[in-house]
């Protein structure tokens, strides 16, 4: 669970995007992983091995646990992609489908 520091909340340039089709809001400069956490989404995928829930762990692109589908492309590291207006972020369940 994470919250935005109040002084930043008011100064923020907000970015509207969607999480699993639901409207959400982030701050310009947030990574998708940070934006998910800021919106109360702690688990962003289930593993293809056992279906266990996972969320971001390292926030620097080395753990590969923050994998999400962004604008239709799966297996994107959420912490390496900046949230953009209108972006569609989807949590991932199981193996990524081929052609997504």
């Amino acid at each position: 669970m994470f919250r935005r520091l109040p002084e930043i909340e008011t100064a923020a340039e907000k970015v509207s995007f969607t999480i699993d089709g639901r409207p959400a809001s982030a701050r310009a400069g947030d990574s998708v992983a940070a934006a998910l956490l800021a919106n109360g989404v702690t688990a962003c995928r289930n593993t293809p091995v056992s279906g266990a829930a996972r969320g971001p762990y390292c926030m620097m692109g080395v753990c590969f646990d923050c994998l999400v589908t962004i604008d239709g492309t799966g297996n994107r590291q959420g912490c390496q992609v900046r949230v953009a207006p209108g972006m569609a972020a989807e949590t991932q369940n199981g193996k990524r489908e081929v052609e997504r």
Binding site: P48, T73, K95, R96, E99
Partner: protein, 380 residues
């Protein structure tokens, strides 16, 4: 009992020393041990460290050189009972192997090949048209017109397979010595003396040369040098994707090996070459060649275009000028047998060639036709 890494004076007197702990060495060790022969395997690194541990794992009869076909067919029977042979299923799955034809001319080549095989009495390969190809491999690109198919073929996991052969051989009494390369091989008074770089000294009446990309050095020590080329076939593997293909796929007009494992990862290879530095146990990848491989997949499997490659590698393998292995007795020395040079397609032959080697050693002959593989074919 596990292998030891440190050299010790041998109190175990082997009947046969096998040089090389790859699949062919382990298979020879297993088949000999099954017949009560005492075997010592000398492996310079660790079992399955090189080609045997890192190849594409294709278990195919499909598309082989005609000389290899009888051996391959016999080996396939062993693969279908591999669990009984080595107490491990080796990850073997059989959903067929397919060689796609992209043009009518390629399909015609396939038909001619099937006719040749049929004439020799082999019926394991057949030609299918576009419709059947699409039903076998729905993800194949639209332009493909048909394919050469071997339905009994499949794939297994190379490291696990080689390890299983080793484990079973040990259970039946074989011993493995890892960590020292063979430096000297000398025959005196009916006995071979084999010395290793870590100070080991071993003796046995019979030696098997299964030394892979280093086998030419062993052969040279026996006075029969061979033109062995060291190659580094490259492979790459993707992150897991949802299952979409069962057979293993190759192509006719260009090099490709394409398969999806049960865990969802897709292995892509086909024999494009990097560079090997065999004395440093090192290979270098050539990404412009990897790119060619990727392009082939792009053309044949459009759904894979967004797949992510998570790793690539290359093993150290031996290739002979005529692309078929060296199997059989030495041409210069008694009690020396060769099993090397499998030219990037030896994995499927592993189970049978070990049996052939054991036949030659214990009975002096084998029922399978191995004359095309004789080492003497390279003599000037």
């Amino acid at each position: 009992m596990t292998a030891t890494a440190s050299p010790k004076p041998v109190s175990f007197c082997p009947d046969v020393i096998v040089i090389g702990g790859g699949l062919h060495g382990c298979s020879a060790a297993l088949h000999l041990s099954m017949r009560g022969v005492r075997v010592l395997v000398l492996e310079k690194d660790h079992v399955a460290r090189h080609a045997s541990g890192v190849n594409a794992g294709g278990v195919r009869q499909l598309g082989r050189h005609v000389a290899e076909v009888p051996l391959s067919v016999a080996s396939m029977a062993l693969w279908h009972g591999i669990r009984d042979l080595v107490d491990d299923d080796c990850g073997f799955e059989s959903h067929g192997q397919i060689k796609v034809a992209e043009t009518e001319a390629e399909l015609e080549t396939a038909r001619a090949r099937v006719a040749d095989l049929n004439a020799l009495g082999f019926t394991h390969e057949e030609v299918v048209g576009q419709e059947e190809l699409r039903s076998l491999v729905p993800a194949i690109a639209d332009h493909c017109v048909g394919a050469l198919v071997s339905r009994g073929d499949g794939a297994a996991i190379p490291f696990r397979t080689t390890f299983a052969f080793r484990r079973k051989a040990i259970a039946l009494g074989a011993r493995f010595q890892e960590g020292g390369a063979v430096t000297r091989l000398v025959r005196q008074g009916g006995l071979w003396t084999v010395e290793t770089a870590d100070g080991g000294r071993f003796e046995a009446p019979v030696v098997v040369n299964a030394a892979g990309a280093w086998a030419d050095r062993i052969a040279a020590q026996a006075g029969e040098p061979v033109p062995l080329e060291v190659i580094a076939p490259m492979l790459m593997i993707t992150a897991r994707v949802a299952p979409f293909i069962k057979p293993v796929v190759g192509a006719t007009g260009r090099t490709l090996s394409f398969k999806q494992f049960p865990n969802g990862t897709v292995l892509i290879g086909g024999g494009l070459l990097g560079r090997a530095v065999r004395d440093e146990n090192r290979t270098e990848l050539d990404f412009s060649q990897v790119s060619v491989n990727a392009r082939t997949v792009w053309d044949l499997f459009p759904c894979m275009r967004g797949a992510t490659i998570v790793r690539s590698w290359a093993g150290i393998e031996a290739r002979m000028p005529d692309d078929i292995p060296v199997i059989g007795p030495s041409g210069t020395e008694p009690d020396l047998y060769h099993s090397f040079g499998f030219s990037a397609h030896g994995f499927q032959l592993g189970p049978i060639v070990g049996r052939i080697t054991a036949d030659l050693i214990t009975a002096g002959s084998t029922d399978l036709p191995i004359d095309p593989f004789r080492i003497g074919r390279f003599a000037a």
